[in-house]
């Protein structure tokens, strides 16, 4: 799984950080998403899918890799 984030769309709601703090963080200056780990391990994938689902701005995209 590869994650990309669109920081233009991000509205800094922080839902992704609550669900997957090892993968997502927020910039100190404005709360916009920071991707900590673009290829998270298997154990984090459920949390990452949850984070993408609840992202209000649809700013998290998941790409399944073969």
């Amino acid at each position: 799984m590869k994650i990309t984030v669109d920081d233009d769309r991000c509205c800094g709601a922080g839902s992704c950080v609550l669900l997957a703090p090892d993968v997502f963080d927020q910039r100190d200056e404005d709360g916009v998403v920071v991707l900590l780990d673009a290829r998270p391990g298997e154990h984090l994938r459920t949390a990452v899918r949850g984070a993408a689902d609840v992202c209000p701005a649809a700013a998290i995209a998941l790409h399944e890799e073969g």
Partner: protein
């Protein structure tokens, strides 16, 4: 054109004896189809989007606008024109303004507020225990806690709470006339504008000072900074206060759920309960409002450019397609995907702070006052059927 007599008015009344459930007419519309015309206070007839998935799709669609100054925008009531800062404008200006205060509400920064918020909650419970019984929990606890939190964050003197609470209540009351609402908004703007101006000369470490610094840098006008301050003060105490009081009442009416919450050792039980309370009660009952800036399709039907859109998230959060057995209150369910905070780029900015306040209230109130109970009849509790933000006017409790 459909005759307006066939179009139900919105918002709709709740059923007698079911104050925690969405209006039956609204549930009926959801069962019938994805879209329905409704009539608002001003005679306009926007589309009401009934289902969870469609509401989320509309609220993230870039072809819809939240511009409150546009005549197509389905307004909540008279007298609300502009002055609500970034919640009533579109990107990119919305994002620019919102991001100026975004850092304050990051998950990390809100976590750092935990000791201060905990102290506020503990002291409020101390005051309850030291005070008379029975007591109105709204006045003595639900309103002071979030007011103290937002005052500390903004550096607004809590001593002025009567002033801003009275005006905030007028703003969110549905029966307020346009004139009264405008006057209340102007009163809040005058008050906060004065505080912001003082911070321009003497900035501190608070949120108003951050806005003042932006004024000095030429990035915000004084008016824009004041509008942000009004929004944060209003949204920061009124909604959370209603959520605290209404969810306390809901738990008192559901003793098994309350016991589960009170006796929980695992902190996850409390955080899940917070989400379920938000889902189940969804206190903003006026619906999220938008209009189509271009033609778009919703639930297989075409919505034309210029048509209004109303998304009542209370009914989305009871959509069986998104939440199995949606009318059952179950604090152990995973309700994290509820849209009580809205959805799309306008989703509530203060949500980490709301979650923190509710969590600390639930962890503290019921454990320190295990005998908490209603002091009168459930039937005589005055619910805010006439308000844009739902809740109770009074909650007499004893222990």
């Amino acid at each position: 054109m459909t005759s307006t007599s066939e179009v139900p008015p919105f918002p709709m009344p709740r059923a007698r004896g079911c104050p925690f459930d969405p209006p039956p007419t609204l549930r009926g519309l959801q069962r019938e189809g994805p879209l329905a015309k409704v009539e608002l206070w001003d005679g306009s007839t926007p589309w009401l989007v009934t289902r969870y998935a469609d509401q989320r799709a509309v609220l993230t669609d870039r072809r819809v606008s939240a511009d409150m100054s546009n005549p197509h925008y389905p307004r909540q009531g008279p007298g609300i024109v502009g002055s609500l800062s970034f919640i009533g404008i579109d990107d990119p200006e919305h994002a620019r303004l919102r991001r100026m205060v975004g850092s304050v509400f990051t998950v990390k920064n809100v976590a750092a507020m935990r000791p201060a918020v905990r102290r506020i909650v503990e002291e409020a419970v101390d005051a309850l225990l030291a005070g008379p019984r029975p007591v109105d929990l709204v006045e003595a606890f639900a309103l002071p806690v979030p007011s103290l939190v937002i005052c500390a964050l903004l550096d607004v003197p809590y001593a002025d709470h009567d002033f801003f609470q009275t005006r905030s209540r007028l703003v969110v009351n549905r029966t307020t006339t346009g004139e009264q609402r405008t006057e209340a908004m102007l009163g809040l703007a005058d008050y906060l504008g004065g505080l912001v101006a003082a911070k321009v000369d003497d900035p501190g470490d608070d949120l108003l000072s951050r806005l003042a610094v932006r004024i000095r840098a030429g990035e915000l006008t004084h008016r824009q900074a004041t509008d942000v301050a009004v929004l944060l003060l209003l949204a920061g105490h009124e909604t959370t206060a209603n959520m605290i009081a209404l969810s306390t009442l809901l738990l008192l009416r559901n003793p098994a759920q309350l016991a589960l919450l009170r006796d929980a050792q695992d902190p996850v039980v409390v955080t899940r309960a917070v989400e379920e309370m938000l889902r189940y009660l969804n206190i903003t009952h006026g619906g999220r409002r938008r209009f189509a800036a271009a033609d778009l399709e919703v639930g297989g039907q075409v919505v034309r450019a210029g048509e209004g859109l109303v998304m009542p998230t209370d009914i989305a959060n009871r959509d069986p397609a998104a939440f199995p057995d949606p009318d059952r209150l179950d604090i152990t369910r995973d309700a994290r995907h509820h849209i009580a905070f809205g959805f799309g780029v306008h989703q509530c900015l203060g949500q980490p702070l709301v979650r923190l306040e509710l969590e600390l209230v639930y962890r503290t109130l019921f454990r320190r006052i295990p005998g908490l109970r209603l002091a009168g009849d459930f039937e005589s509790i005055p619910f805010k059927h006439d308000a844009l933000v739902y809740g109770v006017y009074e909650l007499p409790v004893t222990w």
